[in-house]
């Protein structure tokens, strides 16, 4: 549905997007993850034909964004980082304006507007000035704007920024409900968000793609497994013995009060048995032994710090 190839964008001397390639299948929700200024918004602006790339190609639904922007624009719904709303218009006037911009035939217009108002739960505010609405409602008006023409592709740039927790979960629900009917690209720097909504993520750092994974294979992708041990006594000596085991990468322990050890190992099951044996041999009084799921957060920071050679 969306194909990006060797895309590069310079702003003067600054390289914003550096030779990235990826594709998105129909009906997929792709999370675009990266820090602020990593190049997420720039990529999205290129895909929506708002700005041209310095080099490389991108196509949406088979139409090239440089050669056939008109066809591409017709198929995309786009919510920029700051919702493009007119504070001095009523919600209904604004949606009517967007429907006209989108060239929705007037016979169909009313129906589409009502449908999108219902979908984004804007019924209560349809006759209010956008300028008087709260941030959450404004964001929803922005989303309604992107959905009004039933686009095949939705590009959402940080759609949940500035929303309160309840609104965030509503927005996620809305985005999830689009799954399978639409292709969605969704950018954020909040990790739990991609975990909650996306099928696949692309991590982008300083203009480069540093990882592309399906969301459920993320845990394994870290290439290490962490195990947490809680013991009654002598955490220090257990830790010493664990260090000498083959396949153990690092051991951290905490001895005062609560005796706790975190072992980082290669992801092999046999190592678990070895670890258990060591603990028993030391007569440490094992209370708990549990795998630590490599959190998305860790994974993400690893990727970025690995790349930069800085430990965070």
């Amino acid at each position: 549905m969306i194909e990006v190839k060797d895309l590069t964008k310079n702003y003067g001397d600054r390289l914003a997007v550096d030779n990235i390639s990826f594709c998105v299948k129909r009906g997929e929700i792709l999370g675009f993850l990266g820090q602020n200024g990593a190049g997420k918004s720039t990529t999205m602006k290129i895909l929506t034909c708002f700005m041209p790339a310095t080099s490389g190609t991108a196509s949406v639904a088979g139409f090239d964004v440089f050669e056939n922007p008109y066809e591409v624009k017709k198929r995309i719904g786009y919510l920029p980082e700051n919702p493009p709303i007119y504070l001095e218009l009523l919600v209904s006037e604004y949606l009517d304006f967007v429907a006209n911009l989108r060239k929705i035939p007037s016979s169909n217009k009313k129906k589409k507007i009502n449908a999108v108002i219902e979908r984004c739960q804007l019924g209560d505010v349809r006759n209010r000035l956008i300028g008087n609405l709260s941030k959450g409602y404004r964001q929803r008006v922005g989303l309604a704007q992107a959905l009004i023409h039933d686009p095949e592709v939705l590009i959402l740039d940080e759609p949940t920024v500035g929303l309160d927790p309840k609104q965030v979960s509503e927005a996620r629900g809305l985005i999830k409900s689009l799954r399978s009917e639409r292709t969605v690209i969704y950018s954020t720097h909040i990790l739990s968000e991609v975990a909650a909504t996306c099928d696949r993520i692309i991590v982008i750092d300083r203009g480069k793609i540093v990882a592309q994974e399906a969301i459920n294979s993320l845990g394994a992708a870290g290439a290490t497994t962490k195990t947490e041990l809680i013991v009654q006594r002598s955490a220090e000596s257990v830790a010493q013995s664990l260090r000498s085991l083959q396949g153990v990468k690092s051991v951290h322990y905490q001895a005062n009060g609560k005796e706790r050890i975190v072992v980082e190992t290669e992801p092999r099951e046999e190592i678990m048995a070895e670890i258990a044996k060591v603990v028993v041999n030391n007569n440490a009084g094992l209370i708990q032994m549990s795998p630590v799921q490599l959190a998305l957060e860790d994974y993400y920071l690893n990727l970025i710090s690995g790349k930069r050679g800085v430990s965070i």
Binding site: F50, M51, P52, Y70, P80, P84, Y86, F97, L101
Partner: protein, 257 residues
């Protein structure tokens, strides 16, 4: 074309949703009121002088010419307030992103913006028919001259608005757009005086008449005298089209920068 209509609808709605339209109309009518009061006083003087048999070649039509020349100048003041927000506000509010990612051609956008500000100008011209009404009720003006004057005013408005739109497209600050539009219009207006002051021709070009020709003032004045010259119409139309073309280019370039 549908895109342009959508833009015009939204813009006109925005003018009247904010104080802009009311303030501009109010200021315009106030200034015109002051000038019209002066106009009436002059007309009375003329009538009195005529009663004593010493009328001095001043007629109602001559006075109407002054009135409308003043009006064309006042429109210069008013235009920047109508055109300043056309593009600059879209840039500031990030709504240009909406317009340029919708299936809307840049030409539709530019034409829509131009027509919406022109609509407001035409509303002002229509409101000013009240002076024509007064003249008809208490005098005997030459209506054909007034007709040609209004044609001139409409053409001049189009040319002012196109220039304002161009300048608005070049900045994201309304204030800067307004100031530069005003300066540009004033400069064009003063070219007439400047050109008349240059008598010598420098090199092969006769600078004096050239500057006079570039200024809209002379072209407009012939309309107020009841003269509809093709060259004046061509001047206004080509000025407007060329400026709109430049505006189109500037809007297009927003995405390249």
């Amino acid at each position: 074309m549908r895109g342009s209509i959508a833009i015009v609808k939204k813009e006109v709605r925005t003018y009247f949703a904010s104080p802009v339209a009311y303030v501009v109309l109010g200021v315009f009518l106030f200034l015109m009121g002051v000038i019209f009061a002066k106009f009436v006083a002059l007309y009375q003087q003329y009538n009195m002088a005529q009663q004593f048999g010493q009328a001095q070649g001043i007629t109602l039509d001559k006075l109407a010419t002054y009135l409308y020349q003043n009006m064309a100048f006042i429109l210069c003041f008013v235009t920047p307030f109508l055109t300043m927000r056309l593009f600059s506000e879209e840039k500031r509010q990030n709504t240009l992103e909406l317009l340029l990612t919708a299936p809307l051609r840049e030409s539709e956008l530019v034409i829509g913006k131009f027509l919406s500000a022109l609509t407001l100008m035409l509303i002002m011209l229509i409101v000013s028919f009240i002076y024509v009404l007064f003249m008809v009720l208490w005098g005997n003006p030459e209506l054909k001259i007034i007709g040609s004057t209004y044609l001139g005013l409409a053409l001049a408005s189009a040319c002012y608005v196109s220039l304002g739109a161009l300048i608005s497209a070049m900045t994201s600050s309304q204030a800067i757009a307004a100031i530069w539009t005003f300066i540009a219009l004033l400069f064009l207006w003063l070219l007439q005086t400047l050109g008349n002051g240059i008598s010598a021709s420098l090199g092969p070009i006769q600078w004096g008449p050239t500057l006079v020709y570039i200024s809209p003032l002379g072209h407009f004045n012939s309309f107020t005298e009841g003269l509809i010259h093709v060259k004046d119409i061509v001047y206004f139309v080509s000025f407007t089209l060329f400026t709109l073309f430049l505006t189109h280019r500037v809007v297009e370039s927003n995405r390249w920068r």
